[in-house]
């Protein structure tokens, strides 16, 4: 194979055209990268195919009843996952709201010269470590620390402000709020770590230019740094949301797993991932079909939420560009 770059040059020159070897390596590497992408796609296709294949009989048998029903009664063959869909979205939304606000402010706090660099690095490592704590530990922490801690506040909110639907019921123990709080703590490390990288990735010059224009510290952060890192921060939220939607054990321990649809933050709820994990090990063939159906729904929700987020992102970018 001949290199297309063959041009006679002075062999002593610092500038060399790529050799044939360089050319081959280049093409091979590019081909490998393409294979990598194809593998990712193939994996998702294989997954959807595998899940879809097992879900198909359930979809044919039950159709939309599964999506719209709110009763899960194996004995009567009634499988409704509407409460689980509702609980999944509700808990993930609250968790993302909390973790997004705190995670991004933590990322700003750790990257924008509020702390000495060394200290920030230590803090950052600690936050990243929290991503490794097993789900079960978060679940136990939620039961023994979070629920007792919020019980007095929730009781007060329920008695004083019970007319607001969010505080409509009393907290028995496990419920939507404790689950969402623990979920927020669980996804905070992901959001904080990835947003931090996005913020540190903004070239120094950009910030210096902003200061040169006479901006205050905060004007530089909010008007220059955060918008420059916006795609990265958005990416962190996507990862966080993904984990929130798919999280199982901690939620199973804290959410109460009741097929309720309620606006109340204190009522027990249910989520799709918990429903799957809890019922799968003992499920009979009929139930597995429906569980696989539920899994497809969960994947579809993740996709839908991501598409919505990407559109929002594009819209926001257009806004700043003017």
């Amino acid at each position: 194979m001949n290199s297309p770059f063959v041009v006679p040059v002075n062999p002593d020159s610092a500038c060399q055209p790529p050799s044939t070897k360089d050319f081959v390596v280049d093409r091979t590497f590019r081909a490998l990268a393409r294979i990598g992408v194809v593998l990712v796609l193939a994996l998702v296709f294989a997954l959807v195919f595998e899940v879809g294949r097992k879900a198909l009989p359930g979809m044919e048998k039950h159709g939309f009843d599964v999506l719209l029903g709110s009763v899960w009664d194996v004995n009567q063959g009634k499988y409704g996952i509407l409460p689980a869909i509702w609980g999944t979205l509700y808990s993930a939304f609250i968790a993302l709201l909390i973790a997004g606000v705190f995670g991004v402010s933590m990322a700003i706090f750790l990257t924008q010269d509020f702390l000495p660099a060394k200290l920030a690095a230590v803090f950052r490592t600690i936050v990243e470590l929290l991503a490794a704590i097993p789900s079960v530990v978060y679940g136990l922490w939620g039961i023994y620390v979070v629920i007792p801690a919020i019980r007095p506040l929730t009781a007060w909110l329920n008695t004083e402000l019970g007319w607001i639907p969010f505080f409509g019921t009393s907290l028995s123990g496990p419920g939507l709020l404790p689950a969402a709080l623990v979920l927020a703590i669980m996804i905070l490390p992901t959001i904080a770590a990835v947003s931090q990288d996005a913020l540190t990735g903004v070239p120094m010059k950009t910030k210096q230019a902003a200061y040169g224009m006479g901006t205050t510290h905060w004007e530089a952060i909010l008007k220059v740094m955060v918008p420059s890192a916006a795609t990265g921060i958005f990416g962190s939220l996507v990862l966080g949301l993904g984990r929130a939607l798919g999280e199982t054990m901690a939620l199973a321990m804290l959410v109460g797993n009741a097929n309720n649809i309620s606006l109340s933050l204190f009522a027990p709820a249910n989520t799709l991932a918990a429903l799957l994990a809890l019922n799968f090990p003992e499920a009979g063939p009929n139930e597995i079909e429906v569980l696989m159906y539920a899994a497809l729904v969960l994947m579809f929700i993740t996709l839908l939420v991501n598409v919505a987020g990407s559109m929002l992102m594009l819209y926001a970018q257009r806004g700043t560009r003017q």
Binding site: V71, W72, D73, V74, N75, Q76, K78, G139, L140, I143, Y144, I147, P148, T169, S170, S172, G173, P174, M249, A252, M253, G256, N257, A258, N259, N260, S262, S264, F266, A267, P268, A274, A277, L278, N279, F280, P281, E282, A283, G284, E287
Partner: protein
């Protein structure tokens, strides 16, 4: 017994020279299934593996249903199940299936009341109505009538049930359906049932999830396995049995219940509501599932030895771990049937 002593002595010798590798082919048995008997199975298998050279037994608790599924997919050598095995599943196994009851357990009602009163007594209609969501306060006249000595406040009853699909739920609901027709009509029985949808019914995963939630929630009541409750030191109620007596769950009352039912040829016996004045009302066997034709004589032999160990040495520790030893007649039946594992 003598041979066992001998093999034990041999095992000591082997473990002393642990570095020397045995020339004999090592056999590894893999099992999965029910989580309820997992603690005792793991103890048995570890001890058995230590005592029999070249045989190691691995067991993982992942649920009876998953265990049976593994068994059907042939990814394990044996399975364990709280709910035996369905006939249609048995029909799928060309090699033939041998079910062996290995131990039994009770299900207790753990509670958490302000002031930690001990010795709560619950009549049959009361505890079934609590799990139907019909009795919702601790000072309900029916509870007060059964417990004149206890101070009961108007705390709402928070009912904690299993969130995961479980053999424990199956045994518990089988019993409730047997004693209360209303329960049978409304909820039925099974690994999961459709518990009343109120905000006072909380679902938690596994025994520990239910136990933790009961502990952390004043006014809570939940069903867990006796062995777990005993070791976790939670308060549990005395239940009224078929004969009308209040019975404390323990090894004796469980053994009484087992003795009240005759083990059939299939080795699958259910005790939804046992007779007998001293019988604890919620008691059940749990099974190991083997293939009759394993196509591997060495493995089959190891399995038979494993069963033999469980029937002899194994039963001795059952009581201390919160399980009920098999009645002697049942041990004999199981031993005879274990010869079918070839």
């Amino acid at each position: 017994m003598k041979s066992l002593m001998k093999s034990a002595a041999l095992a000591v010798a082997v473990s002393l020279s642990a570095t020397s590798v045995f020339a004999a082919e090592s056999i590894r048995l893999t099992g999965s299934g029910a989580s309820f008997p997992a603690p005792i199975y793991l103890t048995w298998f570890k001890d058995f593996s230590k005592k029999s050279a070249g045989v190691t037994v691995d067991y993982q608790s992942k649920g009876s249903g998953a265990g049976v599924q593994d068994f059907l997919n042939k990814t394990v050598d044996f399975a364990a199940s709280d709910s035996a095995m369905k006939d249609e599943d048995i029909a799928k196994v060309a090699e033939g299936v041998q079910l062996l009851p290995m131990t039994a357990g009770e299900i207790v009602l753990a509670y958490n009341l302000p002031g930690n009163p001990k010795g709560l007594k619950l009549p049959r209609d009361v505890y079934s109505d609590i799990f139907l969501g019909k009795i919702t306060k601790w000072n309900d006249p029916k509870i007060v009538a059964a417990n004149p000595d206890l101070k009961l406040s108007d705390t709402p009853i928070t009912v904690v049930v299993r969130a995961d699909s479980s053999g424990t739920t199956a045994v518990f609901t089988k019993h409730l359906a047997a004693i209360n027709p209303a329960f049978k009509d409304a909820l039925g029985e099974g690994n999961t049932v459709n518990w009343p949808a109120t905000d006072k019914f909380i679902k938690s995963p596994k025994n520990d999830g239910v136990t933790a939630t009961v502990r952390q929630t004043p006014g809570a009541i939940g069903y867990i396995e006796y062995g777990f409750a005993k070791l976790a030191k939670v308060d549990f109620a005395q239940l009224q049995n078929k004969a009308g007596h209040y019975v404390v769950p323990n090894a004796e009352s469980g053994a009484e219940a087992l003795a009240a039912v005759k083990m059939p040829e299939s080795l699958v016996a259910w005790l939804p509501d046992p007779d007998g004045a001293k019988s604890y009302p919620i008691t059940s066997y749990t099974w190991m599932i083997f293939r009759k034709d394993n196509g591997n004589p060495a493995k089959a032999k190891a399995m038979r030895e494993m069963v033999e160990y469980s029937l002899t040495e194994g039963q001795k520790i059952a009581d201390s771990m919160g399980y009920i030893p098999l009645p002697a007649s049942v041990v004999e039946q199981v031993r005879k049937a274990s010869a079918n594992i070839q």
